[in-house]
Subunit: 440 residues, 2 copies
C-alpha cells in the first residue's frame, strides 16, 4: 500500500516493494537512515517520508536515495468479519475525519485522517461492552476543510442512521470547526429520534495523552444511554480523564488550541456530564429536548454571507465591497455591548436597504449584546443592524446561512434570527456561566 | 448650558432659559411632564430629552411642547481652586471618555462621556488620601469611536505627563476598545518612567453596582505605589469589590459584555493584584519591566490592515479584494492550531508575493498556534503565512499596524512580528492560565 505516493517516489517504492508502515533502511550518499515509511502528503512528488526511531519524520528526496531495503513488513491486519453492512448497531458512528479518525499506526507530526470503518471498530475494543456499534466512513477530511455542503451530507447521514433504527449517532469530526458543524446539524435536524453526539480528539491516538479513546467511549455510551433529541459536542471536561461534558451544539466553542478540555459551553450550561468510567450520565440542563418519534431534516446553507470582526481603525468601505459582491447577510462581531464606530452606520443602512441582513454579536464572547445602552448602539439599530442577544458569532453565521436558504423576505429573516430555534439564544434570566480565572 | 442642543430644540430651550440639569415642567397637549433636562445626542434636532422621576428618559418633539417652566435651576458647581494647571500631581489622570468619564448627574440609559477635569477630581473624594492628583480631559469619546490617530495623541499625553514629573499616569477609557488602546500604548511607549494604568467602568456611576469609583481609586493607588514601567488595564478582579487586577496591556481582553470582571489576562498572568481597600499591591508576574529614567515614544499606526476571521464556507476571493484595495497586512484568525481551508493557500501566496504580511492567530483565543502539526498548516506556511505563536488576534493587529508604520521591508516586518517586543508573545514554558468553567 503506497496510496499516498505519486511520481518519482512511487516509482522508487514500487521498485523495492515497500509499503506504508514497513520498517526500512534507506541508503544515502553519506549515511543510512532507518525508519518506518509514512504516508506522504508532500506537494513534492519526489519526497518519501520516514519516521525515525526518535519519533521525528524526515522527508528524503528519492533522487538522493542510493539504496533501500525492507527490514520488517508492516503487520498484516486481521480483517474482522464485521456486521457493519448487515445491520445497524445500537449506535452508529459516522466518521468525517479529523484527529480522532486518524490512522493510529501512522500518526506522527503529520496527522492525516484515514481511519477505515474496520479500524474505527478495532480502535476502542471496550466499546463493544458499551453498545452494539456500527460504523461508516463518510469523509476523511480535516475539519478546516469542512464546508456547508458537507454539513448537508452529514445531516443526511445522521437522519439515515436514525431512520434505520440506531438509538443514537456519534459523529467523529476534526475539532477545528466541530462547533460550526454542530450548529449546522442542530439547525438542519429540527426533530431527532435519538441523541447526536459529535466527538473529536485534541491529541492523536499515538500520544500517551490522547483523548481519542475516552472521548469516543464516552460518546458511544451517551448516544446509547440518553434520551435527548439534540446535537451535542462531547469532549473532555477537564484536563484529567474523569469525565466528559456534552455541550449543546448551538452553545459551544473551541476555547483552546491544544488542551483536551478545549471545548466549553458559552452563556449556557453543558447539557450533560458523562462519567464514562462509572457509566453515569448527569443531565445539567433543565430544558432538554427529548427524542421524538421521527427525525426531520431541513437542510441547505447559503454561503454568500460574511463574518466581520470589528477593530479600531477598520475602514467602513469593506461594507460597500460586500454589498457589491452580492453578499446576502453580515454578522458583525462588534465590541462590548454590540458596537462599531458610528462611521459604519450609513454603510450598514445601505446594506440593509439592499435587503442584506446585518446582525450584531459581541467579540467579548461572554454576555449579551444590548444596543439600547449607548447612543452608538441606537444609531446602528436605526441603520437596520439587528442585535442578536447572547448568541455566539460563530453560531450566528451558521444560523444565518441556514435561514437565508429558506427565506428571502428580509422581515422574515429578521424574525427567524430573533427567534430562539434550538437553544442558541438564552433568556435574560440564565445563570451566570462566566468561567473563573485562576492566577498564581 | 445647552451645548448638546441644536436647531428647533435649542431655540425653544433658549427662549425659556432652560439649561441641561434644570428641573422642568413641560406642557403638552394632553399632559404635563416633569423631569430633568438631559443632554441630547439625538439626530433629530427638534427633540428634547427629559429624565423623568422614574428614571426613564423620554424624547419630546419641541413642536409638541405648548409650554415650559423651570422648577429648579441645576445646582451651581463649586469651582474648586484646582492646582491642575499649576502643577502636575503625583498621578496624572488623562480622560479619554467612556462610561467611567461619563457625567454622574446625567447618567441614564443614554450614557455620554462628558466628565470635566473638575468633575473627575470631585468624582472620588477619597482619591486625595491616596495621591496628589491632577487631571486632563483629552477626549470625550466613547471607545468604539477610538482610532489609531487617537492612540498617538494618548501616547503623547502620557509621555508629556511623565516628562512633567508625574510618578504614574491613569488613562480613563471606554471599555469596548480599551484592550486595543492598551496594546497601542504599549508599543508606542518602549520605555516608561512610571506605570501607565488604563481604567474603565462597566457600570455607569449612577448605578449602585458601579465599578467606577473603586476602579479609579485602585488605579490611582497603583499608578502612585508601584515601580513598573508597563501599560496595564486595571479593572475589577471578580464580581465583588475585593480587588482589582492589573492586566498587561498586550495580554488583555474584554471577555464579557457587562460583568465588572470582564477584563481577563489571556495566556498570561495579570501583572498585579491590587487590594485597593487594604492599600496592598501584589505583583503576580516575575518578569516585570521596571520604570526607566526617561520615557521614550515611538508612535504612529498604519491602518491599511485587515483582521480576517475564518469560518467554514468563507470564500477566498476576499483576499484578492484586500490585495487590490491596497492593504499592507492581514491578521488571520484561523481555527484551532492556525488553519483555514487549503483553498486559501494560493490566495495567501499572491498576497505575500505582493509584499503583504499575512500572520496567523487562533480564534480559540487560548493557547498557541502551531502550523507544523497538520499538513494544512504547512501548506499555509509555504504560501507565506506566518504563525504568530500565542498572541491574541486583537493585539496582533495593533502590533502589525505599529510595525508597518516603521518598516516597509517584508522580511523585517516578519522579524519584528516574530519578536516578543512587550510581552505579547509568551515562551512555550509559561504556566497554564486557562480559566476553569464551573457548571451547576
Amino acid at each position: 500500500m503506497v496510496e499516498s505516493y505519486r511520481g518519482k517516489a512511487l516509482n522508487l517504492l514500487s521498485k523495492y516493494g515497500a509499503e506504508e508502515g514497513d520498517e526500512l533502511v534507506v541508503t544515502l550518499d553519506v549515511m543510512e537512515l532507518r525508519g518506518k515509511l509514512m504516508p506522504s502528503y508532500s506537494e513534492d512528488e519526489s519526497i518519501i517520508i520516514l519516521k525515525l526511531e526518535n519519533g521525528y519524520n524526515v522527508g528524503i528526496s528519492s533522487e538522493k536515495i542510493r539504496g533501500l531495503r525492507i527490514l520488517h513488513k508492516r503487520p498484516i491486519k486481521q480483517e474482522r468479519t464485521q456486521p457493519t453492512n448487515q445491520k445497524i448497531g445500537e449506535v452508529k458512528i459516522i466518521s468525517t475525519g479529523g484527529t480522532i479518525a486518524s490512522k493510529v499506526e501512522y500518526e506522527t507530526g503529520a496527522v492525516r485522517p484515514a481511519l477505515s470503518t474496520d479500524e474505527i471498530l478495532q480502535f476502542v475494543p471496550e466499546m463493544k461492552e458499551v453498545a452494539d456499534v456500527s460504523a461508516e466512513v463518510l469523509f476523511s477530511i480535516l475539519s478546516e476543510e469542512m464546508k456547508p455542503d458537507y454539513w448537508v451530507k452529514i445531516a443526511e447521514a445522521v437522519k439515515k442512521a436514525l431512520d434505520q433504527g440506531a438509538r443514537g449517532v456519534v459523529v467523529a469530526h476534526g475539532t477545528d470547526t466541530m462547533a460550526y458543524t454542530a450548529a449546522a446539524l442542530s439547525f438542519s435536524l429540527p426533530k431527532l429520534s435519538g441523541p447526536v453526539v459529535m466527538v473529536g480528539s485534541q491529541r492523536s491516538s499515538d500520544r500517551p495523552s490522547s483523548d481519542s479513546a475516552i472521548n469516543l467511549m464516552s460518546s458511544i455510551f451517551l448516544a446509547k444511554g440518553s434520551d435527548f433529541g439534540e446535537v451535542v459536542v462531547n469532549m473532555h471536561g477537564e484536563s484529567s480523564d474523569t469525565y466528559t461534558l456534552a455541550h449543546r451544539g448551538v452553545r459551544v466553542r473551541k476555547m483552546h488550541t491544544s488542551r483536551r478540555d478545549a471545548f466549553q459551553s458559552v452563556n449556557d450550561l453543558p447539557l450533560a456530564k458523562v462519567w464514562w468510567n462509572e457509566r453515569k450520565i448527569e443531565i445539567l440542563q433543565k430544558d432538554v429536548r427529548m427524542r421524538e418519534d421521527n427525525t426531520e431534516i431541513n437542510t441547505g446553507f447559503e454561503d454568500r454571507v460574511f463574518l466581520l470582526k470589528y477593530w479600531p481603525g477598520m475602514r467602513p468601505e469593506i461594507i460597500d465591497h460586500l454589498i457589491s459582491s452580492g453578499i446576502r447577510g453580515i454578522i458583525v462581531e462588534g465590541t462590548g455591548l454590540g458596537h462599531t464606530s458610528r462611521e459604519f452606520a450609513p454603510y450598514f443602512k445601505r446594506a440593509t436597504k439592499e435587503g442584506i441582513f446585518v446582525g450584531m454579536t459581541s467579540q467579548c464572547i461572554f454576555g449579551r449584546v444590548n444596543m439600547n445602552v449607548y447612543n452608538t448602539g441606537r444609531t446602528l439599530m436605526e441603520a437596520g443592524v439587528m442585535p442578536l442577544e447572547d448568541i455566539l458569532s460563530e453560531i450566528a453565521i451558521v444560523k444565518l446561512m441556514w435561514i437565508l436558504r429558506r427565506e428571502t423576505d428580509p422581515t422574515k429573516v429578521r424574525q427567524l434570527m430573533a427567534t430562539n430555534l434550538r437553544g442558541e439564544i438564552g433568556s435574560r434570566q440564565t445563570i451566570s456561566t462566566y468561567p473563573r480565572w485562576y492566577h498564581g
